[in-house]
Every structure is written in structure tokens, then in C-alpha cells.
């Protein structure tokens, strides 16, 4: 996990650890918890999903998606 997260920027890491702590969160709850929002939030979550660190319930609609930590990292 450390080797993977080392490649991530700070906001993305913060989001990853927040999702890992709660196991699963709606996207806008992540914004409420971290203060990261808008394009920066979407970019960070997309990066995490691309690296298979998290999974999205609705990849086509981030706005109403639930972000869950991937099995390997729970």
C-alpha cells in the first residue's frame, strides 16, 4: 500500500485514507469530510479507481457514486 500511495498526490492520499477508514462513502460525503471538492475531487477519485485502490458504484456518474475501498486494501 505504501508503495502505491507514494505515487499519489496529497489530496488523493487524503481521500484514499478517508475511504479506507470508513470502508465506503458517497462521493459528496468525501467532499464534506476532506474539504476537497469539484474537479479536484473527481480527478482524485478517478485516479484511485484507475489504480484499483477504490471501486465506484456508478463510474459513469461520479456525482451520485458510492466510493468503496478495494478488497485488497480494506
Amino acid at each position: 500500500m505504501d508503495e502505491l500511495t507514494i505515487e499519489l498526490d496529497e489530496p488523493t492520499k487524503e481521500i484514499f485514507f478517508e475511504v479506507q477508514r470508513h470502508k465506503a462513502m458517497p462521493l459528496l460525503e468525501i467532499a464534506a469530510a476532506t474539504g476537497i471538492r469539484g474537479a479536484e475531487l473527481e480527478k482524485a477519485v478517478s485516479t484511485l479507481a484507475r489504480k484499483k485502490l477504490v471501486t465506484l458504484s456508478k463510474p459513469s456518474d461520479l456525482f451520485s457514486s458510492i466510493v468503496s475501498i478495494s478488497g485488497k486494501y480494506f
Binding site: 470508513h22 470502508k23 458517497p26 459528496l28 460525503e29 464534506a32 471538492r37 475501498i69 480494506f74
Partner: protein, 224 residues
């Protein structure tokens, strides 16, 4: 209570490790889910996790009891099983050090805790997935008719005055103020559907932020 007679001289003594185990399990749940902790116990996996954390120290006590000749109850041992199993389950042993790719030195430790951690994560992941869906449904239903973030924030600002705990009230007001500032900045130079979406995003984000602070019950009062 006849079947319990084989497990301990007085079945009531089993309550000591059982209750201590429940307390340890709930503490772990609370660390992860804060205000949503009681709701974890509405999920099957949450219950399994919580009960299993109580059954482990109880089983340790029963084993100790049956190993004696003749079997005899001990309140002190029951207490030690409750507190001690928690300590053993959380123990890890230092094996050495490992250098990471960024140069940092990481301690390598293994123990029963690794197994507990995996089991804990497996159960709480299932509970977490269910709760996240519930929270989303709750917030989206509660705020379904809200279209104007500024109006909602003003209402919440007035209703926050009803909060009896000053610290909680100040935290709520700080969140309202912070989101209002950010919304004003983000809403500049946009209109139409983009502004509608921004309103919706801020309304829902505010809902989640407030829910984390005051819980679901009080949320209805805040947004009334």
C-alpha cells in the same frame, strides 16, 4: 440456564468477559463509524462482528474453567479474560526493519492482530457498504426538494441557534460560513444548469457535513 452449567459454575460470571468483549468491540466500531456506530448494529455483519468480539473472551474463560480439576469460578480470571484477550488479540511482535522505496524505515511486526484486523475489516467493510448506501438515501431524500444552497444555509444558520451545546453550535456555524464562502466563490461567472448542479453539490455536501456532526435525528431540526 442448565446447559450453561457445563461452561461455568455460575452462568452470571460469563457476563463479565462477555460484556468486556462487547465494550471492546463497540469501541472499535465507534472509532470507525462515529455517529453512525449504533447503525452498524442494524447490519448482519456488524452484529456478527460485535458478538464474536464478546464470544472470544467468554470462550477463553470457559476453556480455563474446564481445564481446572475440580472446575471453580473466579471473578478475577473472568476479568482478566475480558481485558487480557483484548490485549493478546491486539499484540504484535517485532520481527525487524524494512527500508521502503522512499528511504523511510518501516518496522515489520506480525501477530494475532493481523488476523483480527483482517476479520474486523471484512465484517466492517460489509457494514460500511450498507451504511454508505443508507446515508446517501437518507440525505438525498431529506434534501430532495432543496434547490437553493444559499437559502438552505440561511435556514440552518437560524436553526443552529436552537442548539443547546455551545461547542456544537459553533462548529455548525463554522461549517455553514465556510461552505457559504466557498459557494460564493465557485458560483461566480456560472449560470444555468452548471449553477443548478453546483447548488445541488453544495446542498448535499452540507447535508453530509452536518450529519457527521449532529447525527441523523437532529438533521431534520437543522434544515426545518
Amino acid at each position: 440456564m442448565q446447559p450453561l452449567a457445563a461452561l461455568a459454575g455460575a452462568w452470571t460470571i460469563l457476563l463479565i468477559p462477555f460484556v468486556l468483549g462487547l465494550a471492546g468491540g463497540f469501541q472499535t466500531i465507534h472509532t470507525k463509524f462515529d455517529a453512525d456506530s449504533p447503525r452498524v448494529l442494524t447490519t448482519f455483519s456488524g452484529w456478527i462482528y460485535w458478538l464474536s468480539r464478546a464470544l472470544v473472551p467468554t470462550a477463553v474463560y470457559v476453556i480455563w474453567y474446564r481445564m481446572q480439576q475440580p472446575p471453580q469460578d473466579s471473578v478475577l480470571t473472568a476479568l482478566l479474560c475480558g481485558v487480557g484477550s483484548e490485549a493478546i488479540l491486539r499484540s504484535r511482535f517485532y520481527l525487524g526493519e524494512r527500508k521502503q522505496s522512499d528511504g523511510k524505515v518501516e518496522e515489520v511486526a506480525k501477530g494475532v492482530f493481523d488476523l483480527v484486523h483482517w476479520y474486523q475489516a471484512l465484517c466492517l467493510k460489509a457494514a460500511g457498504d450498507k451504511l454508505a448506501t443508507e446515508r446517501q438515501l437518507f440525505i438525498e431524500t431529506l434534501l430532495a426538494n432543496e434547490t437553493d444552497f444559499v437559502l438552505l444555509a440561511r435556514r440552518a444558520h437560524s436553526n443552529a441557534g436552537a442548539w443547546a451545546i455551545e461547542e456544537e453550535k459553533q462548529k455548525l456555524l463554522a461549517v455553514v460560513s465556510d461552505l457559504q464562502t466557498k459557494f460564493t466563490k465557485a458560483a461566480q461567472n456560472i449560470s444555468g444548469s452548471k449553477l443548478e448542479q453546483l447548488n445541488r453539490e453544495f446542498i448535499l455536501e452540507f447535508g453530509y457535513a452536518a450529519m457527521r456532526m449532529v447525527g441523523r435525528k437532529s438533521l431534520k431540526t437543522l434544515f426545518k
